[in-house]
Symmetry: C2
């Protein structure tokens, strides 16, 4: 390699501290050779040489370094250098590097960033979309356990102006691992000469940077905290999430749930910020899909075409019947989706829910049967001025059908969220339109089956 | 009045400080007379007399006092007495009293209560259900502007252990009016000998105790705060709301919205905590109401009975048509309800929304028309093995109807939330079942009108 030929010259220039000449040469030499040169130098000299490189060249050189040398250098980087090197790396190289990056380096990169850069860096650091890692901020106060309270208070005084909360102070060990959290009040009330570890109980709750943001919402709500620490897989403190950020997340999640439940894809932005074209794109898929699904209703109706031809009046009540089934299903589905998403019930409770919804479906069905019978009779009486046999029979068919239709809507609406969740889908995909479509088909079959059973030989 | 006769005797007993004898007599004399007596005494004596009364008697006497004497006495009450008197008053008397109660008295009552009692007192104080007044806690730190930083820090040290947050310190004037909020950091960084007013900028955001809890959610989110002060109508600091309480409120509000949007009444408790009987009660009302609403579909269908009799195949597609309208309406309604409740759009923007939804409804309708036509043709071809005139005509009627049905669903779904809100109802009452029922009737009319126009003289 060319570097071996140049090595004596390099050594001479280094000896002479002629950085200008070195800079010229290094930026002309291929990256792989510069890397080889750096491997042979002491870390203290290597870092000086590395700093002479142009940004893109530095990143290229970095990819050729052995991981031990690379990490050794990174330890000596300024945060600025770290972020420059990182952002000039190719995505795959970056991921590879991040996988072996020790937590305290991760922490250093994140901590030294300005807010705007930080978003980028958190993305660069490989935290997935919607993960706690993307939400956390480094604006917290950390102290060491051997510090005196006085020193900790001085530290808070110095850095407290730039953090999100001083209510909670985090204690880390020499490896930056989180070992406790303290309330500021504990420090204020303590003897200034005592050390931090006299206040510690070593019990704390923390989130992982790879946790879903929804978990952060639940944890903060569960433990009634305004902020929670975030640690990486080694338990190293990498940030905190604050409740004000979490509120925004919770709001977004809910909006997404609601859009799914309305039978459409989730919008990428707020309604007011969404173009009409984008809106149509997010809605048309489910509309068309459900329309195709409704073919089953046409097929079912087709099977009863001759019944309809013989007793056209039966067709009048089809929309009433199927929509009532859909309504009951929508109610049940919404109750279950919401209860699942707020952790009010868990996936394992599906059997208990089945029992409950069987019972409530039966009760609702029976009441609706009576309501339905009376409503149809009254309606017929008002509109025709009398009670025909046709009318009474229709009312009877409608009433009996409602029991089955409401019960079925209730059962499918409540069980579908569990089934979809089991299949790895969001339970909220059990939209009102979806459940309605499902119960429409069944409603038609139930209605005509009862009609045939009751009216065969009478009017059919 | 009897009290005039007894007055000399009273004066004598008071002079002699014979409290035991006085107590016996006072509790036998009618409340109105005791009140009259108290009116004539100096406040310092009156309060002593008042304390001799039994609890219920004290409350009764209180209602007979002129408001000036009443307030004078209340100023001297202990918090315990205040709450005793308050809780023994009749609800209407309590509201009347509260309306004239100065803020610092309100504050005193709330501050001195234990957590369990406080809930009750906040209710007693007349803050409406779901108001900020019910949510606030008195666990904050307040300081005076003429205090030195040192005195303020000593105060924080003394009371900081029992408050929700020390991040923000509230400054009140001699009337307990909120005049500023300070970050703890400002105090920590300041010269201990300086006074609080050197730090003040007199700019702060506050909630009113009568604001809706939803407003608290929005304000905390908007200003990215962990806590916000609550003031009464005179600007007197009566508490703070913290973000962790607000998260729970936001979650509840969302659950309520979702239940309304599913076409049911709001449950009083979590799904898992709700009895089957209660559940049925909350669901049956809307189910029955919507069923009755569906009578319009039966009536509409009835109007086309002869059309159906002549062309039974037309009836096969009714469920497809009306459900697609309902689906489009459900999508639109959900988008608008959520956008309104997150302040993404405001009530005044209804006309802009109308324009948008007209356009997107037309686009969706046109696409669905093509989809619908092709789907029906393909379905017919697959099930019957050929293309009859009936089938092509049906596909045409279905396709054309879909334009109108989808457009109508979109318009009614998006405008109904505005209309309901204008009528003082929750926009979320625009439930999926409600919108579906509305568009079912229209769907039937659109479908048969197009069928008659197209098929008259052909198959009809």
């Amino acid at each position: 390699m060319i570097v071996h030929l140049l090595k004596p010259e390099f050594d001479e220039l280094i000896e002479a501290k002629d950085w200008v000449a070195l800079k010229d040469i290094l930026n002309d030499v291929p990256a792989v050779d510069v890397a080889e040169l750096l491997e042979e130098l002491d870390a203290e000299i290597a870092i000086v040489i590395f700093r002479l490189l142009k940004k893109q060249k530095a990143a290229d050189v970095f990819t050729y370094l052995s991981s031990s040398t690379g990490l050794e250098l990174m330890n000596m980087f300024t945060a600025q250098q770290l972020s420059e090197v990182m952002s000039n790396l190719e995505p795959d190289e970056r991921v590879a590097l991040m996988e072996e990056l020790p937590g305290h380096l991760t922490q250093r990169v994140i901590n030294s960033m300005k807010t705007d850069d930080r978003k980028l860096v958190q993305q660069l650091l490989g935290y997935p979309d919607e993960s706690v890692g993307r939400l956390m901020t480094p604006r917290y106060v950390k102290v060491k356990k051997h510090w005196t309270i006085q020193k900790a208070m001085d530290h808070i005084r110095k850095f407290g102006h730039s953090v999100e909360t001083v209510n909670v102070i985090y204690v880390v060990d020499e490896n930056e691992q989180l070992i406790d959290d303290l309330r500021l009040n504990q420090l204020i009330l303590a003897d200034p000469e005592a050390t931090i570890d006299t206040l510690m109980d070593e019990s704390f709750e923390a989130l992982s940077a790879f946790d879903d943001q929804e978990d952060a919402v639940k944890m903060l709500s569960k433990y009634d905290r305004v902020a929670m620490p975030v640690v990486d897989s080694d338990g190293i403190l990498v940030g905190i999430v604050t409740v004000d950020d979490v509120i925004d997340v919770a709001e977004e999640e809910t909006t997404e749930d609601m859009q799914l439940m309305a039978g459409m894809d989730v919008l990428d932005d707020y309604y007011s910020q969404t173009s009409i074209f984008h809106m149509v794109k997010k809605r048309i898929g489910w509309l068309a899909f459900l329309f195709v699904g409704q073919l089953f209703t046409a097929t079912a109706m087709g099977a009863y075409e001759s019944v309809i031809a013989n007793a056209v009046f039966l067709s009048l009540f089809i929309p009433m019947i199927i929509s009532t089934g859909g309504n009951s299903g929508t109610q049940a589905a919404t109750l279950i989706i919401r209860a699942l998403s707020t952790d009010d019930i868990s996936m394992s409770e599906w059997f208990r829910v089945l029992g409950r919804e069987l019972l409530s479906g039966l009760m609702l069905g029976l009441i609706m049967a009576i309501v339905g019978f009376l409503v149809i009779i009254s309606w017929g009486f008002v509109t025709t001025g009398g009670l025909s046999e046709e009318l009474v029979l229709s009312a009877l068919v409608v009433g009996l059908s409602l029991i089955g239709v409401v019960l079925w809507g209730n059962l499918s609406g409540s069980m579908l969220p569990f089934a979809l969740s089991k299949m790895g889908l969001d339970p909220a995909v059990t939209s009102a339109p979806f459940v309605s479509t499902l119960s429409d088909v069944t409603g038609i079959v139930i209605y005509f089956s009862i009609a045939i059973a009751l009216l065969e030989g009478v009017v059919l």
